[in-house]
């Protein structure tokens, strides 16, 4: 009996799908419930940021680049600022460097809590999702008090930082860190002991150490596989030269390991924040930097919550950069998904996608063609309402 070649049954996840709150398209070919092939299509929110940078001055670029991502906005700004400072040959004052570290670690806590919630939601564990996001509010409020905004902190300026930490704020951060540490320990207990949750994470999406190294994955994804890659440790930058960071790794490389690594990184962040607040040096917040940045090329790498963030900045001696290249951590982790997806159940796919903590706005940085075939219409509220009434008549 000859079997007919089976028709491919492709399940599209994205560009519009409840599993992903951001646009990215994944095509999973399934046989029953088992995935046999996976493909990725990105670029739905490509905004042309790299090109735009070439037409603005360094200060304007700083805020533009900060808006690449809404979750790790501070690290983008830090990476750019560190690069520009290196080009200009200045060093931010030690107090400014300490505040950058403080903000970066607060942001890491916020990002990891966000991820914990999203991953729990993908697993259908909505209670954990709600609790994690409730506790995330604490750190977002702290950032709001520190910088005046919950998302785009805008703490960095070229040559320093804008906002200072006073005694009162320092005390309240210390207090909240204790609370968050207790909560994180509780979440650690849940993700490592609850059997229904372990059923969705243990042994799922295992990425071997060797494979992770070859694929060039970064961040907690690769640290969960036992590869020692953390820019804060490998090549300390900014204030991390003064505040030592311990490398957190795990051996198994499955989803559970990624949960463990991220929560352990939270502990590490609490420790660093306490250390920074205890030992924060006094002094100025900014140094003066000339508007024209000397000619040169610089590579600036920082450790974002999702992994290594890479900036390449080329200056041509004017007020505007010649080229800014951004490589975000999510981009190099995609390879791991298509690599490990095959053979897993369809139900594991959202978890697997969430496992690398993808950030689409980070990936697609760069163009929207304005359609000129139809005239653009500006409508006010009444016009829109009338239009709706006419349409449904």
């Amino acid at each position: 009996m000859t079997e007919k070649p089976k028709e491919k049954f492709v399940v599209p996840i994205g560009p519009q799908h409840p599993a992903l709150k951001e646009p990215g398209s994944f095509l999973f070919t399934v046989d029953g419930e088992t995935v046999t092939d996976a493909a990725v299509r990105l670029g739905f929110v490509h905004r042309g940021i790299e090109k735009t940078c070439e037409k603005r001055n360094y200060t304007q670029d700083l805020y533009l680049l900060e808006r690449i991502c809404g979750i790790c906005s501070h690290v983008h700004a830090t990476a750019f600022v560190l690069g520009v400072e290196k080009l200009a040959g200045v060093q931010a004052p030690p107090r400014a460097e300490a505040i950058r570290v403080l903000a970066a670690e607060l942001e890491r806590i916020h990002s990891h809590f966000l991820w914990l919630g999203v991953a729990a939601h993908e697993a259908g564990f909505d209670t954990l999702f709600m609790y994690a996001w409730r506790d995330r509010e604490v750190v977002m409020d702290l950032l709001e008090v520190l910088s005046g905004s919950r998302v785009h902190y805008s703490i960095n300026v070229i040559g320093g930082v804008k906002f200072d930490v006073d005694k009162e704020l320092s005390d309240s951060i210390m207090k909240q860190m204790d609370f968050l540490e207790e909560r994180s320990k509780y979440y650690m207990k849940i993700v490592t002991t609850d059997d229904t949750f372990i059923g969705r994470t243990r042994g799922i999406g295992t990425l071997s150490k060797d494979r992770a190294e070859i694929l060039g994955a970064v961040g907690p994804t690769v640290r969960a596989s036992g590869v020692k890659r953390d820019i804060r440790v490998n090549s300390p930058y900014s204030g991390y030269k003064d505040y030592h960071v311990n490398m957190i790794t795990d051996e198994t490389g499955d989803l559970e390991a990624r949960f463990i690594v991220r929560i352990k990184e939270l502990y590490e962040s609490y420790r660093i924040i306490r250390l920074v607040l205890e030992k924060i040096p006094s002094g100025d917040l900014t140094t003066r930097v000339k508007r024209k940045i000397p000619e040169g090329e610089v590579i600036s790498r920082v450790e974002a919550p999702r992994g290594e963030l890479f900036y390449y900045i080329k200056s041509n001696g004017t007020e505007m950069p010649d080229r800014v290249k951004v490589r975000t951590p999510s981009l190099c982790n995609w390879g791991t998904i298509t690599d490990v997806a095959v053979g897993h159940k369809l139900a594991d796919m959202p978890m697997l996608l969430a496992g690398i903590d993808p950030c689409f706005s980070c990936n697609d940085r760069m163009v929207q063609v304005h359609s000129t075939s139809k005239p653009t219409q500006l409508m006010n509220w009444d016009d829109l309402r009338n239009y709706g009434i006419e349409y449904y008549k």
Partner: protein
């Protein structure tokens, strides 16, 4: 087999007040540094234009009414503003600041997104000028 590790918290939550903020009905006070709407003090401004130079989104324009007497009007577009506070950072005379009470800026009309700051008489002059378009324009040739 361990299941239901969350049970303790679950019970606690049942008897706890919900942590949801009842936002439009009850407001919590904004922190001191909150970056809300830009506020401009025309008395202090000398018209150095540094704020405009570094604005990443072209949200502010400084219109000179009388340069000698330092009379300026600042046209501010809250819809373009990204609330980065770089202009506040740049201003050496502290005539710009960001309000921590004016931050609910949603509006159904476009007028709310064009704000004029300055002395009242200056704004009046400016708006008058804008209200009479095409005075000096030559008529279209037949």
């Amino acid at each position: 087999m361990t299941i239901g590790v969350l049970f303790g918290d679950l019970l606690k939550s049942l008897f706890k007040k919900p942590s949801t903020q009842n936002y439009p009905y009850s407001k919590i006070s904004a922190p001191e540094r909150l970056r809300g709407k830009l506020v401009y003090d025309p008395e202090k401004c000398i018209g150095c234009m540094l704020c405009i130079k570094d604005c990443p989104s072209n949200a502010i324009e400084l219109i000179t009414v009388d340069k000698v007497n330092k009379r300026f009007v600042l046209r501010y577009h809250p819809d373009k503003c990204v609330f980065c506070a770089q202009c506040v950072e740049n201003c050496r005379f502290k005539c710009l600041s960001m309000s921590n009470s004016l931050w609910e800026m949603a509006s159904t009309s476009k007028e709310a997104f064009e704000v004029y700051y300055g002395r009242e008489e200056d704004i009046a002059i400016l708006l008058e000028r804008a209200a009479q378009p095409g005075i000096n324009e030559p008529a279209c040739e037949e």
